[in-house]
């Protein structure tokens, strides 16, 4: 082996799954719990929310996810990372636990997107897939052959 890399897809920020939570009080004096995430991709976030049974609606700068027990409103920060503002019956523990569930669904979608991109782009970069396997932990391992002279 010659070089070993860890790569994070652009749909994910290199931060923890659940960033620091804080309580916020709005103008109406209603408090909410805010939980940071590592999610960047709006479309994948909406898909993962829908997978978890939320009714999802989008505005120009936010995504609202509604469940019977309350709402999470997602807003993007200056670095393009979404944070969730929970209202209703969500306390911090329930909010953080829900973010972990959303992140798990989101990460699975990111995995599929990475694999689709890889399959689509590999030939034009001088690479071919020699083997592809799904492992017990649901990670996917691949061996790519490189046509020397075309790639790198």
């Amino acid at each position: 082996m010659s070089l070993s890399l860890i790569i994070i897809p652009i749909a994910l920020a290199a931060v923890s799954v659940v960033a620091a939570a804080r309580a916020e009080t709005g103008e109406s004096n209603c408090s909410s719990v805010v939980v940071g995430t590592r999610m960047r991709n709006e479309q994948l976030l909406c898909q993962s929310l829908a997978q978890l049974g939320a009714t999802v609606s989008r505005t120009v700068d936010s995504i609202a996810a509604n469940w019977p027990q309350g709402q999470a409103k997602f807003r993007k920060d200056s670095q393009g990372i979404w944070s969730a503002h929970f209202s209703g019956s969500f306390d911090y523990e329930r909010a953080a636990s829900l973010i972990v569930e959303i992140d798990t669904a989101y990460a699975a979608l990111v995995q599929q997107e990475v694999l689709s991109r890889l399959r689509e782009r590999a030939p034009s970069l001088g690479m071919s897939i020699e083997s592809e396997n799904v492992e017990e932990d649901l990670s996917v391992t691949l061996v790519l052959n490189v046509q020397v002279g075309d790639a790198a």
Partner: protein, 70 residues
């Protein structure tokens, strides 16, 4: 031993990707950083040389030393 160049990838269920090149000699392997970022749509957050790179670098250094002595 084979001369062909290969990339071993693991795309985790958590979204993280690990990659290792094999059969890529010397500093050329650094070109793979940008290539794999393009291929996978990601950003490298950690990288390290492995024994193959170090062996190749040592061979290159040894050859250069021999040439100097001759």
């Amino acid at each position: 031993m084979t001369d062909r160049e290969q990339v071993f990838l693991r795309v985790g269920r958590d979204g993280a990707i690990s990659a290792e090149t094999k059969g890529v000699k010397g500093p050329k392997c650094l070109d793979y950083v940008a290539l794999l970022e393009d291929l996978l749509g990601g950003q490298t957050i950690d990288s390290s040389f492995t024994s193959e790179y170090l062996e190749t670098a040592a061979q290159t250094f040894g050859q250069a030393a021999d040439e100097l002595h001759n």
